[in-house]
Symmetry: C3
Subunit: 339 residues, 3 copies
């Protein structure tokens, strides 16, 4: 997929880009159609250009409705260490620059690309570690000086985070969401319409929710939560970056992970994990039929993605069990269907 | 109970109220006595009025000490999109407006009303979803434009949350508290004198602590924690909004919920829940007497509100147990007293 | 150890110090050598002095490179309620003042002193409880007035925390770290080079990491985490202030505490605690040899600091076990070596 971004970038003292804000990124045909509007240059995928006042003037006059308004606004800019940038990318190719990665993160949070749809290989190396402060993005080398200067002037230079990713809502606020503590949703999160992220909720980049969800637990990088599913307070989903290995964790539709619980397997539709139970891929689970009889003992990873399961730890004997409303025959079919 | 608030409200572009700050709300006789101070209008419960400069002048001259000072200060206001409002409510009746709900939330955080004492029916529908930013409350429809304008001017418009509730401490800081991360205590929390809310603590609206408490876990909507009780790091209390159903969860006096533990039942006085144990209402529990012998097996909900219990999961056999220092006879009396 | 700090302090309306920012604290010989630079006074350990413009002029001219630059910058200061202070301390003696405690906290976060190396007795009593706001440190007595004034002027006075400790990164950002939510790392944390503190991570004062670590859990006061060790999301370490009693909890090298797990004992090198398992000092643990046979049942506290252990809860029978790759003879030696 092609994408085009017209953005405002913050520069450090060496004129390197620290971050880019794209108010209205474009994808597909729109992106391709608008490439070439600059008088003297058509961008190749992966290319970017820092715009002169003439470039902006040209866009403000000739570009369509999608770019004209921001171009006009940018013409008025006179802030230090800011530049307008135009970047064209092919999301199937690897990112090529900081401004390229920022455009991909914007596409996710604008719901123009879903998690796992873009090539993000090598993106970490292209994201500078930045101090996100009350006075904007600041290069770490310049921070101590700026902090002392602010003190002397009677101001406070508040440092909100030292990170490669800024909070999403300083860049994109998608429609139909509530986010109680924006410090906990990174740019690059895909937050579905109808999602509430409570104070204990968290969403990493390239991860998120399909639609209506109450998120009070942690959605790790790469994890997608289906329509109608809820994550209880403090619950955990294992990320591919940290312990989940090669398995991509996900949660199906209309499922629930209880408070302080956790999953190390992809969960199917209409499933529940009891509050406080951490289900790793290697957890041994007793599979119970509709009458509560044990049909089989298996590992949790064998139940990945199966629908209609209720996981709990039996409080009389400590055994991890999965309750179903299926007969022994149905369970055998389910468990061995793909073996 | 009657209550009267003189506040400063923020308006959106359509002159709708986004939020109200009441520096000194009044209740009971004081509220009734001050109603009628405006030359031409006595407010009925549920009514509110946006004040003109003449109204404020009148209050500044004629109202008692409680209202004169804020009225005088408000006379100096000349900020855009601000208005002074006066509202009278009867807390036994349902809320009637945004300014009404904000007054009820202030009463809770000013410790003028306890959780569950006010009628809050339908309040969610009267609270607009607002962007809480470094430049104040902003209507979500106006946010993207404001963010681009700020960037162009070299400022950062930091969005702290997208929520129906603002953080309490931007409105009320009750005496004798410490709150390590104010983003985690909503306006409408009742925070008792002597309470410390650590970084992992959280208090929702219409919920809180009676007095001295160390809160490192989550107090859900509707939950009240008794004097001298502590919530360990990351522990959970089930809220009536999310899984607790009709049972109102609470914690008695001098009790402790361990780190990463949780409760789905009201806990009595002098109780402990071991770190890491999640006790749901349906958890089966073996009741042990003073000698460690099992007297009975029951569900946790049968132990709701009973004093002097220590809940743990036996680490040798995985059984959830409750330890007491009572004899078998005393335990039988306790368990079957109200059946 | 001697330490010397030249700082900028914020005062309340009674000229009491609320907090101090030391841009470049000095220790050891450097600190001793620079003491006595003021024309008329040599500081005794524990003494501090609010500097006049003449004092600053003298330092700007005569002090070495370490103090000249900040002294020159402070000469330019004209902010209300700010003062320059110079303080000399002996870290083996008890703290003597607010400015003294702030210097000790800076030493920790600048990695000039390790946790437990300084005498911190009585420090809590010397730290005022402060409102940390978007307009700097404010005395709690003055906050309500300031909040109303800000509203009237159309500004928001954001209160970030009400606490005795400010966030570290508003004072010190040590090299080679990432901190996703700075509200969760207190001044006085020791954050090793190569440490990433994710959104769910937390580090209290007098606690931290030796070097490379991924911290997604909570490091309580007094807890130190060794090189190469990771704390999973939401995991807990018991602090000496809250339930850990006299045992100082720590984590050795190359160890891992799983998500939502917790420890109440010091963990040795190359250990793992399974996700979701809370290991208190009193947890009974079955010790398994290389063949999975139970060699002994013991309490977790007996395993404190031992290397190469994997703790888990058996999901078939609820028993807490520790897996090793040692023979029964080796295990007996390990368990009874120091008895």
């Amino acid at each position: 997929m092609f994408a085009l971004g017209l953005g405002v970038a913050t520069l450090n003292g060496d004129n390197q880009i620290l971050e880019v804000f794209y108010p209205a990124p474009l994808v597909g045909e729109k992106a391709e159609a608008l490439n070439g509007l600059l008088a003297d240059q058509t961008l190749q995928p992966g290319e970017s250009r820092r715009l002169s006042q003439e470039d902006l003037q040209s866009l403000a006059e000739n570009a369509g409705a999608d770019l004209q308004a921001p171009a006009r606004t940018m013409l008025r800019a006179d802030a230090d260490r800011k530049t307008a940038v135009l970047v064209l990318i092919d999301t199937d190719q690897k990112p090529a620059s900081t401004e390229d990665v920022y455009l991909r993160l914007h596409l996710l949070s604008h719901r123009l690309a879903k998690p796992h749809q873009q090539n993000l290989e090598g993106m970490f190396g292209m994201l500078p570690n930045v101090a996100w402060t009350s006075e904007g993005a600041i290069d770490l080398q310049e921070l101590t000086h700026r902090q002392l200067e602010a003190r002397i002037a009677g101001r406070v230079l508040r440092v909100h985070s030292i990170d490669k990713f800024p909070p999403m809502t300083d860049y994109v606020v998608p429609a139909g969401v509530r986010i109680a503590d924006t410090a906990r949703v990174r740019l690059g999160a895909y937050v579905g319409e109808g999602t509430t992220v409570m104070h204990e909720g968290f969403i990493n980049f390239n991860a998120g929710t399909e639609g209506t969800s109450m998120i009070e637990g942690r959605i790790s990088a790469g994890v997608m939560v289906g329509e109608g599913s809820d994550l209880g307070g403090g619950c955990s989903t294992m990320g591919t970056l940290s312990g989940g290995g090669n398995i991509v964790i996900s949660v199906g539709k209309n499922s629930l992970i209880g408070a302080n619980a956790g999953i190390g397997i992809p969960l199917g539709d209409d499933c529940k994990v009891e509050a406080g139970l951490y289900l790793t891929a290697g957890t041994r689970v007793a599979v119970l039929d509709e009458n509560g009889a044990v049909v089989e003992n298996t590992k949790a990873r064998e139940l990945a993605g199966k629908p209609g399961l209720l996981f709990r730890r039996n409080s009389e004997n400590g055994r991890v069990e999965v309750l179903t409303n299926k007969s022994a025959i149905q369970l055998n079919e389910m468990l061995h269907a793909h073996n």
